[in-house]
């Protein structure tokens, strides 16, 4: 277990700055709560002031320089060690995360999210050893050579909904930023600081063992909004990675971009799911079950939660809606992360009702302990949706969904045309050709509005695949060329393209010399990808 002891007598916890645990400059503190009971934990976490931020930024700049000298094997060893420590400490970590988030210990945390997080760190380590992510490109005739190189310090804002897999100090952004050679300043989510301090402690210990620069992994728990914005625009940073609400994301985006920082945000999505008539006839029962499971997974608190269901009007749709409603009623409402999430649901569902959506089931907050909201299904006609599309496509983060019932494929297309950018979009169609005409009409419209386009599959699973796109058109994400999940693709966000023109051979980085440095790195030599020497 880690040398950093949590749960000791001293309730005030330290921040991880400048490569060591130290007292925060901030006097104010906060505590996290047992999400299921509302009881606060005894540990107190500091709200950092600018003095902490300033230290973190200076240390990150030093770390960026130090990292240039770190061999790939050291970084890979650090990531692998950290992954191992996650697995070794799974029970402790999952217990804490379970308390702080009310996500199920099993299967969610212990069998899915933690192993996935460790696997992601391991994949990042493999990418570091392999080096192909650098896309080394060699033009032999002109002796011009280029490769993707580290960008510089990255500030990561972790979200509330994945205490491991998107945690600022262990998740996808962390793995990608570190693997690409950058120092990280993690801004933990204030709903799960105990989980985060334990993760950071394992990371810090792993860095010590691996000989990885200690200042490359720093963590703060909480900041004032003003300090958060000031940090996002600080010239000592190279990039900001953010997963969270649209309002917070857009504020950070503006602050970052004003001074030329890069902002990579994932900022809300309703993830439309379209079910075509043939599929409805063919396997209504099965699809309704898939939808209920996907909708209620993690109490709907997924970036890729299917919040908008588009159905063809008629008896089958009525039966489908009834089946979903039954499913929503049968499953007791899960515990939400916080009163804030519950209040957001209350407000967003009310706004949709005010805009004309009818409540099929649910619609109300539920008394505690813990924050609950009834599993909620709303419905509205496509015709009505079209005249209130702005409100009705607003993300209601949590266990609520809106069914939109359309009179024709043309009306479905019109609904899709109104959608903003989303992370995902899915079409269920008949396994034969019965839905082909409607599919051909709708698929191009939906394709343009989403990053990941699915067939016959709910969107909540986000595989760590090299072909993944977890991102998409604005405002679901900030830049549709990049993905937040998938290795090595997600590393690209944290790179710059460095060109070497006429540089003498012995002065080139190893990756750009004629000799392939690993014998297996993929490089593009005179237009062809090869693992050979140039």
């Amino acid at each position: 277990m880690s040398e950093k002891k949590v749960y000791v007598e001293e309730p005030l916890q330290e921040v991880l700055l400048e490569g060591r645990w130290q007292w925060s400059s901030g006097a104010a503190t906060f505590r996290s709560h047992n999400a299921s009971t509302g009881e606060p934990f005894c540990d107190e976490f500091p709200i950092s002031t600018w003095a902490d931020c300033d230290k973190a930024l200076n240390a990150a700049q030093r770390a960026a320089v130090a990292l240039r000298q770190v061999p790939p094997e050291t970084t890979a060893f650090f990531l692998d060690l950290y992954a191992d420590k996650l697995e070794e400490n799974s029970t402790m970590l999952c217990n804490m995360a379970c308390y702080e988030t009310a996500l199920w210990f099993t299967p969610r945390l212990a069998l899915a999210e933690l192993p996935r997080t460790a696997d992601q760190l391991g994949q990042a380590a493999a990418a570091v050893r392999d080096g192909s992510w650098k896309m080394a490109t060699i033009d032999k005739k002109l002796n011009i050579r280029s490769m993707l190189a580290p960008l510089g310090p990255v500030l990561i804002f972790g979200p509330n909904n994945f205490p491991f897999a998107f945690n600022a100090v262990s998740g996808g952004d962390f793995a990608a930023a570190i693997a690409a050679g950058n120092p990280v300043i993690a801004k933990a989510h204030p709903l799960h600081p105990i989980t985060s301090i334990n993760l950071a402690s394992l990371a810090h210990d792993s860095a010590k063992v691996a000989g990885f620069p200690l200042e490359a992994v720093q963590m703060l728990y909480e900041l004032s909004p003003a300090d958060g914005l000031r940090m996002a625009g600080d010239p000592r940073l190279a990039a900001i990675a953010f997963t969270g609400s649209r309002a917070a994301g857009l504020a950070l985006k503006a602050a970052a971009e004003k001074t030329g920082r890069l902002f990579y945000g994932e900022m809300s999505s309703v993830n439309p799911v379209v079910i075509l008539p043939g599929a409805m006839d063919e396997r209504r029962e099965q699809i309704s079950k898939e939808f209920v499971n996907s909708s209620l997974a993690g109490v709907g608190q997924f970036c890729t939660n299917p919040g908008l269901l588009l159905l063809p009007a008629g008896e089958p749709a009525e039966a489908f809606i009834a089946a979903v409603a039954r499913g929503f009623q049968q499953d007791p409402p899960g515990v939400l992360f916080s009163a804030g999430v519950r209040d957001g649901l209350v407000n967003n569902v009310q706004a949709m009702v005010d805009a004309g959506a009818a409540v099929v089931t649910g619609g109300q907050a539920v008394e505690g302990p813990g924050n609950h909201f009834q599993n909620t299904l709303l419905r509205v006609s496509a015709q009505h949706f079209l005249s209130h599309a702005d409100v009705l496509q607003r993300e209601a983060f949590g266990n609520a969904a809106l069914a939109v019932v359309a009179q024709s494929p043309q009306e479905m297309a019109a609904v899709l045309e109104t959608l903003e950018g989303n992370l995902t979009g899915c079409i269920y169609s008949h396994t034969g050709g019965a839905d082909d005409a409607a599919y051909d009409l709708l698929a191009p419209v939906l394709r343009q509005r989403v990053g990941r386009f699915l067939n016959d599959k709910m969107p909540t699973g986000v595989a760590v695949s090299p072909a993944m796109q977890h991102g998409g058109p604005y405002p679901a994400a900030s830049h549709p060329h990049f993905t937040a999940v998938g290795i090595p693709a997600s590393l690209r966000r944290f790179t710059r393209l460095d060109c070497y023109d006429n540089v003498r051979p012995h002065r080139l980085p190893e990756e750009l010399r004629d000799k392939n440095p690993t014998g297996a790195m993929w490089r593009n030599v005179d237009g062809a990808w090869t693992q050979e020497d140039a």
Copy 2:
């Protein structure tokens, strides 16, 4: 020759909107001038109002949809035809550009820039046929597949300094945006509208012959600043590409990013050139000639003009400075693009003098006809530079350079540490090992501050190589991952990453099916690059 006749009796010219030449909604007009004589040409060009912009944006949206159905061969044919027409009309085009810009007909326009522009369009055509730029990625086990896909309408602001190679309707941004499958709205530079209308006419005619969507190539000549900013933020656009001044670039960047548009800007650079003592001893004469040639090429009006020279103090540096001064004096000052460029030089040189730089030679505007400024060399000590680095590293666009004389390699490093992001940076060193220690000290510092890092070579040549980086850290460019020159890399700016998850095989884009669509497209299948079927 083109069907669009320029130089007919009617002096008022049309805009290219909605796939046809039409009268602008704007009543105000402007004319371009013979840059060498100051005489205006008779053609009058409209200053578009918002009605033109609105038409262009709607048409570009339609074109974006139409382009999705256009086979690669059609786009490639269009680009090749256009390249051919440039070559066929070289004399006419170079004559006009020569008049409007005062750049030399030969070698600059006819032997360098026009062939390069045609070659770039041809390389873009080849990239379209090849398709490897899409970086198709296939995860067979999970059946998740992704590729880079067109982004949507791109608004291109062309600069004053390359009437062909960076012209909004023929240059690198145009070639890249079109090759990646996007419609272009070109905002021509108002200093060379006659050149631009002739180019646009050739493009339009090529599109007609090739069957390429006519609305995919539109052009306006001039807008009010307010309409330019409004356009940059319009949600119908996907991206803005800009080459020009920092002030204009940053204003457009803010307007674009505020609404989630992507902004790709190239916005000023002083392109430091460092000469180490050993190189100074070894080949001072030769390097001074290279510097004079690079400095005065195109009257210094290059993005990559070497504006900052960093020299080791001593007799050799004095001799070097004297040699450059002689070179600057021997070459009569060239004609600048405009009074604006001259006035910018006057102001920037004055600001540097006010900040303590001494005039070695030049320093004054020269009486017309045509706008001239004396070839100007300033000098300052490194010590002084360090205390006025903000003013002294300001780009003085044109034929002026600042020599900074340092007492030691450490002082050189300190100077480099103060530099903002630049497009290029170069170190000249002894061909033996005499400068190795200084090189090892300075190279890492300079490397971090530039996109393209050179050895023993002036920066003004920007090859269209797959390994090029014409871009760099902010504020030289807006996003250091991307390059504005180099095919296929420059196409990536205008792409989004589209993922297909569990999509039925026959519904996948051809690029993502198991069978390689061309038999030669490079795709990443299960982590390995291959031209085989998946």
